[in-house]
C-alpha cells in the first residue's frame, strides 16, 4: 500500500517537475525579453501563482472545474497543479540566473550575428545552469513535498495512503513515521547535494557570482 503511494508520488513529482521546468524556462526567458507585453504576461503568471496558495489552485482544478463540467483525473490534477505552481518559482530562478550574466555578452553575441534564440541557447542558458542548479534542486525538493496536497483530494499518493492506513488500522504513529521516512529518502539526498554544490561553487569559482542564492526565495 505504501509502495503504491510512494510510486504515485514519484510519478506525479517527476512529471510535475518536467512541466515546471518547461514553463519555468519559457516564462523565465520571456521575462527578460525586451517585449513589454511578453514581460507582462510572464509577470502575471508568476505573481498569480506565487501569491495564491497551492491548496486553492488544486481545489479549483478538482472542484471548480468539475462543477463547470470538466472532470480531470486526480493524477492529471496533481501534475498540472503542482507543475504550474512550481513553474512560477522556477521562472523566477531562471530569470535571476539570466540577469546575472553581464550585459556585454549580449552585445558581443549580437556583433557576431547570433539570433536571440541562438544566443539564449548557446551562450546564456549554459552559463546560467551552473548558477541556478542549487536553487532549482531546492525547488525540486519543495515540489516533492508539495505533491502531498494530493492527499486532500484522495490522490492515492504517499500521504493519502499513509493517512488512510493510519485511520483504518489506528496505527497512527508507525504509518506517519514510515511515510515521513519515505519522503525523507526522496528529499534529503537532493537537499544535501544542493547545499554541497552551492558551497563548492562559492569556494571554487574565481569569477564573482552576482547571484546570491541565499537572497532568492529558498522557500515556497
Amino acid at each position: 500500500m505504501f509502495g503504491e503511494g510512494f510510486l504515485r508520488t514519484i510519478e506525479v513529482a517527476a512529471l510535475a517537475l518536467m512541466l515546471a521546468l518547461v514553463l519555468g524556462i519559457i516564462f523565465g526567458v520571456i521575462s527578460t525579453s525586451n517585449n513589454k507585453v511578453m514581460r507582462g504576461i510572464a509577470r502575471i503568471y508568476v505573481e498569480f501563482f506565487q501569491n495564491t496558495p497551492l491548496v486553492i489552485q488544486v481545489f479549483f482544478l478538482y472542484n471548480g472545474l468539475a462543477i463547470a463540467g470538466l472532470r480531470l483525473s486526480v493524477f492529471v490534477i496533481g501534475v498540472l497543479g503542482v507543475g504550474i505552481y512550481h513553474g512560477a518559482y522556477v521562472s523566477e530562478v531562471v530569470k535571476t540566473g539570466i540577469t546575472s550574466i553581464p550585459e556585454g555578452q549580449v552585445e558581443a553575441a549580437k556583433s557576431q550575428g547570433f539570433t536571440y534564440i541562438q544566443y539564449m541557447r548557446y551562450i546564456i542558458l549554459p552559463q546560467t545552469i551552473k548558477i541556478i542548479l542549487p536553487p532549482l534542486t531546492n525547488q525540486a525538493v519543495n515540489l516533492i513535498k508539495n505533491t502531498s496536497v494530493l492527499a486532500m483530494i484522495s490522490g492515492f499518493d504517499l500521504m493519502y495512503m499513509a493517512d488512510s492506513w493510519a485511520s483504518s488500522s489506528l496505527d497512527y504513529g508507525p504509518s506517519y513515521v514510515f511515510a515521513g521516512l519515505l519522503y525523507f529518502i526522496l528529499c534529503f539526498p537532493l537537499a544535501t547535494w544542493a547545499r554541497k554544490y552551492e558551497e563548492r561553487l562559492k569556494r571554487n569559482d574565481t569569477t564573482r557570482i552576482l547571484y546570491d542564492p541565499c537572497e532568492e526565495a529558498v522557500t515556497c
Binding site: E47, F48, Q50, N51, T52, P53, L54, V55, I56, F59, F60, N63, G64, I67, A68, G69, V141, K145, N146, S148, V149, A151, M152, M159, A162, D163, A166, Y172, G173, Y176, A179, G180, Y183, F184, C187, F188, A191, C214, E215, E216, A217, V218, T219, C220
Partner: protein, 219 residues
C-alpha cells in the same frame, strides 16, 4: 452577474469569511514570530555548537525540511491529546516553519566573518553579548528579503490547515462554497479566496522588492 454577486456576498457569508481571514492572519503572525525566535536559536546552535546540541539542531532542521508540512499537521492534530485543534495546527506549522527559518538565518550567519568574534572577545564581550549586539543585527539585516518571502509562504501554508477543519480563510471559503451549486457562484467564491490571499502576499512581495532595490542602491 450582479445577481451572482448578491447571492454570494450576503452579510452572513461576508462575516463568516472575514472571521476566517482574521484567523488566518492571527495564525500567520503568531507562527512567524515564534518561528523566528525558535529558528534563530536552532541556527545559532547548528552554526556555533558543533557537539551534541548542534547535531540535534541539525537533525531537527533536516527532518522538518525534508518531509511535507501536511504530514506534521496530521501528526500534531491526531496524535497530540492536548490543546484545541487551532493550537495543535499552529504548532505543526511553527515546528515546520522554524526549520526553514533556521536555514535562512544560518545563511546570514555564514556571511559574518570569524574575525568579528575575536574582535568582540578582545573588547571583553561575552559570547551571548557578541551574538546579541554584533552578530545577529548584521545577520538579520542581510536576510530580511528571505525572511519576508518566508512570511508569504507561511500565509499560504496556513491554507493546509483546512484539512483538519480549522476554520481559517480557505476552510471558511470551502464551507461557504458547499451551499452553492451553480458554476458562476462557485467560481466567484474561488475568486474571493484567491484575491484574499493575493492581496496579502502581493503587498508583502512588493515590500520585499522595494527593500531589495533600496539596499542595492545603498551598496
Amino acid at each position: 452577474m450582479l445577481e451572482v454577486f448578491e447571492n454570494v456576498f450576503t452579510p452572513s457569508n461576508v462575516e463568516f469569511l472575514a472571521k476566517g481571514m482574521a484567523l488566518t492572519l492571527a495564525l500567520s503572525v503568531s507562527v512567524v514570530i515564534i518561528s523566528i525566535v525558535f529558528g534563530t536559536i536552532l541556527a545559532l546552535l547548528r552554526t556555533y555548537e558543533k557537539r551534541f546540541f548542534g547535531k540535534l539542531a541539525g537533525f531537527y532542521i533536516e527532518m522538518f525540511r525534508n518531509t511535507p508540512l501536511l504530514l506534521w499537521i496530521l501528526v500534531c492534530c491526531f496524535m497530540i491529546p492536548y490543546g484545541t485543534i487551532v493550537i495543535r495546527g499552529g504548532l505543526a506549522l511553527t515546528l515546520y516553519t522554524s526549520a526553514v527559518i533556521a536555514e535562512i538565518v544560518r545563511g546570514g550567519l555564514n556571511s559574518i566573518a570569524e574575525g568579528q568574534f575575536e574582535a568582540a572577545k578582545s573588547q571583553g564581550f561575552t559570547l551571548i553579548q557578541t551574538l546579541i549586539y554584533i552578530v545577529l543585527p548584521q545577520c538579520f539585516k542581510s536576510i530580511v528579503p528571505s525572511l519576508l518571502s518566508q512570511v508569504i509562504t507561511t500565509v499560504k501554508d496556513t491554507s493546509f490547515l483546512q484539512v483538519v477543519a480549522i476554520p481559517e480563510y480557505t476552510r471558511s471559503g470551502f464551507v461557504v462554497m458547499g451551499r452553492y451549486t451553480t458554476t458562476p457562484e462557485v467560481f466567484m467564491i474561488f475568486t474571493v479566496l484567491a484575491v484574499g490571499y493575493f492581496v496579502i502576499c502581493f503587498s508583502l512581495s512588493c515590500v520585499v522588492r522595494s527593500y531589495q532595490k533600496r539596499t542595492q542602491i545603498a551598496r
